[in-house]
Subunit: 443 residues, 2 copies
């Protein structure tokens, strides 16, 4: 069996590795545009900030390492055609073109950065961050820059803005929406983050799109809402990615609203073609509709399911909640499930409570505030949670992910047992305080 | 309605507070031996270590604070009699004796430190740590001491040993069993802790009971197993507590193997008498038998249930898993559910896996080792988890508590979604790595 994988990101490489663990004999070929594989793009902002010393540190394995596992990674090639009838893939390197057969084809084509409609976006000094090469370019550009604008205040945007601030630039973080992290946080929670970013010296501009980038060859200023001008020696577009669908379309795979449609075994509508990662749609766990989950963890988890599918083992990819966490400077923030407004948009009348607790016993040194927001549906079933604190956020998000997955109500969870010691939590855990408070709204 | 509560620890005081929140009118009287209430005994080791500055810091509220909430706390009295027929309680202060009526009586009598059978236990310089006054005595004694032995290597014993070491004493931690934390950790996990304690300079003596304390008036040496002698200017008995049952017996309450029997509404066998905290038995969540759960969190949670019961509201105390966490020096350790040997003693054939993971992405600064052990029953249902690392242990224990409570298998959990960012976890969470590994044993 010959498995050809298009894409060397988290989805593609993990599929190759998982497949090899389960099947020692199959032929595995990975085709990738990049010259590097097996690195964590999530780590790029932390290299830019100087927290991680070098881009070399975040590359875990080389193509040669994979060669030893009998995985053939062909780098710096562009796949130009798929023929799902003949079961072939054609790829082009610098000079030549080659067509190879496949028995199973995996599309892990990922996404392309979305470029928002704005004048001057082709000026020098405007960057997107897809891969390490982009990271290196930005790292170089930082040296000569005094000011930067990062547009798009999702996780990557915030992390990059923070990194550039750390490097001494005057940084503006801009977001078209009236709040940052709009997909995962309610406005009152995002305001806590904004306050922190501003305290750290980042200029946050909300609710105003950049309409124009101005400069002579190289960007110099950005124009917001056709009025306000802000200096920018560099501009970073962190406005999300759109699934890359050309090959999927060419192969005849059914495409959904945003990305390739796959079933819970990661099979596309075309026989022997599979897809994973940023280029596929997932099922939402709470209401069951299709959604996108462009997270490294999702890609890695999908690839485990897919490897089992290809090996004819029982496999099932569960619906997603898009649980996320990030850390900028001192502040860790995370979320899972629906925001209040997303719930409302989906005809749920959310019952919501925000509480302020502490990360340790009140009397224990360095106890820090922890803000927690719980979102329930009308029956008390938990459908969302958002947490911001200086420590111990991620794992609480995981606990809530499990609670939502299991369909628990706030009443159920308020009876839960939690581990306690003064240095690590409160005798009544912050999560319990929060679910107890929201429970009261149902009395 | 007049509610009389005997005991001013976590169970008694929390019952009073919760009751007052639900019922503004009932009369609430708390009778306690202590002169202080509403402090966290779990915090005493951290005051002794100097991490928390003073014992004053860990007292959250005074009897006067409770007076303002219309809760009458009568301190420094000994309850000497209960008459469940006449519904009266008799208590004695320094000079006088008084008998009062109750409509509802709450026994929150806690436990008494167990004194192991050893010669010389009445010598000066031998301490138990039940309350702040004991803590203050030990704090005083530290000043003149050069060496100390702490016997009993449960959480408190370890925390105290570490505190005395921090204060510059030569410390021996001794445990009769061949490992430390025998109730919650497997030997291989406890060995990691032993290694750390030894590295910090604590002498750990396992598998040998102290048979004799030697000294002229004041303790000078301890004799282990009738052979080895170790110097000790002070000896701390941290050998657990036994439920205080005198009043419960006097009232005619049914007593189980270790403590007062209560139903899931915290009612004893005697009408209008209730009990919470270290003096009651709980139900074990996994196999359903009676157990003891002498944890502050359990007492606090029971008191919430009891307040609802007394107010005639729906109430139910769930079975327990005895999830626990502690931190000594840099190392955080926690556990929930059964150890391997406890499972075996209960005719479960455990399927067990230990993995070593990291607390952050491999390339992220200060990524630390995390040791995780998962214990499943023969069907793959998770029944126990133990974790040791320098950070982020407690909340992972909570996630596993939820997983065990929900009856999840290792296969279920290996499909779970977890939040990821390089500064706070691995792309495949350590818990997932662990459940994936144990899952393989079922193939």
């Amino acid at each position: 069996m010959k498995v050809v994988i298009v894409g060397g990101g988290a989805g593609g490489i993990s599929t190759a590795s998982n497949l090899r663990k389960m099947d020692k004999n199959c032929e595995i070929v990975v085709l990738t545009r990049d010259d590097k594989v097996a690195y964590s793009p999530c780590a790029i902002p932390y290299v830019l900030s100087g927290t991680i010393k070098s881009f070399d540190d975040i590359v875990m394995r080389t193509p040669e390492d994979y060669k030893k596992k009998d995985i053939d990674i062909i780098t710096e090639v562009e796949v130009t055609a798929v023929d799902s009838g003949k079961k072939t893939v054609t790829y082009e390197s610098k000079s030549k073109s080659k067509t190879i057969k496949y028995d199973k084809l995996v599309l892990a084509t990922g996404g392309n950065p979305f470029v928002p409609p704005m004048e001057g976006v082709d000026l020098e000094g405007v960057y997107q961050i897809r891969n390490i090469d982009d990271g290196i370019k930005v790292q170089e550009a930082i040296k000569d820059a005094k000011s930067a604008i990062v547009t798009g205040a999702g996780l990557i945007g915030i992390e990059i803005a923070f990194a550039l601030m750390k490097q001494g630039l005057n940084v503006t973080l801009s977001e078209m929406m009236p709040q940052i992290v709009p997909r995962s946080l309610d406005k009152d929670m995002s305001d806590i983050l904004v306050k922190y970013l501003e305290m750290e010296g980042i200029n946050v501009v909300l609710g105003k799109p950049i309409t124009k980038l101005i400069g002579d060859k190289k960007v110099e200023k950005a124009c917001f809402d056709d009025e306000e001008l802000i200096d920018a020696d560099m501009v970073i577009l962190a406005t999300g990615v759109r699934a890359e669908l050309d090959l999927a379309r060419m192969a005849g795979c059914e495409i959904g609203r945003w990305a390739i449609l796959v079933n819970d075994r990661m099979e596309t509508s075309v026989e022997d073609i599979y897809a994973v990662g940023d280029c596929v749609e997932s099922k939402d766990l709470i209401l069951g509709f299709n959604t996108i989950s462009q997270l490294g963890t999702t890609a890695v988890r999908e690839s485990k399911t897919l490897a089992r599918t290809i090996c004819n083992k029982k496999s099932k990819f569960n619906p997603v909640l898009n649980s996320m966490v990030s850390k900028v400077g001192k502040l860790e923030f995370g979320a899972v499930g629906y925001t209040t407004s997303f719930a409302q948009q989906n005809r749920i009348r959310p019952v919501v409570q925000k509480v302020e607790a502490l990360t340790r016993a009140r009397y224990y040194p360095n106890a820090k505030p922890m803000d927690i927001k719980i979102i329930c549906d009308g029956n008390g079933t938990i459908i969302g949670c958002q947490i911001i604190a200086e420590e111990r956020v991620a794992e609480r998000i995981d606990t809530m992910t499990l609670a939502i997955t299991e369909g628990l109500t706030c009443f159920d969870l308020s009876n839960m047992e939690f581990a306690y010691a003064p240095p690590v939590s409160m005798v009544t855990d912050p999560l319990i305080l929060a679910v107890e408070e929201v429970s009261k709204k149902f009395n």
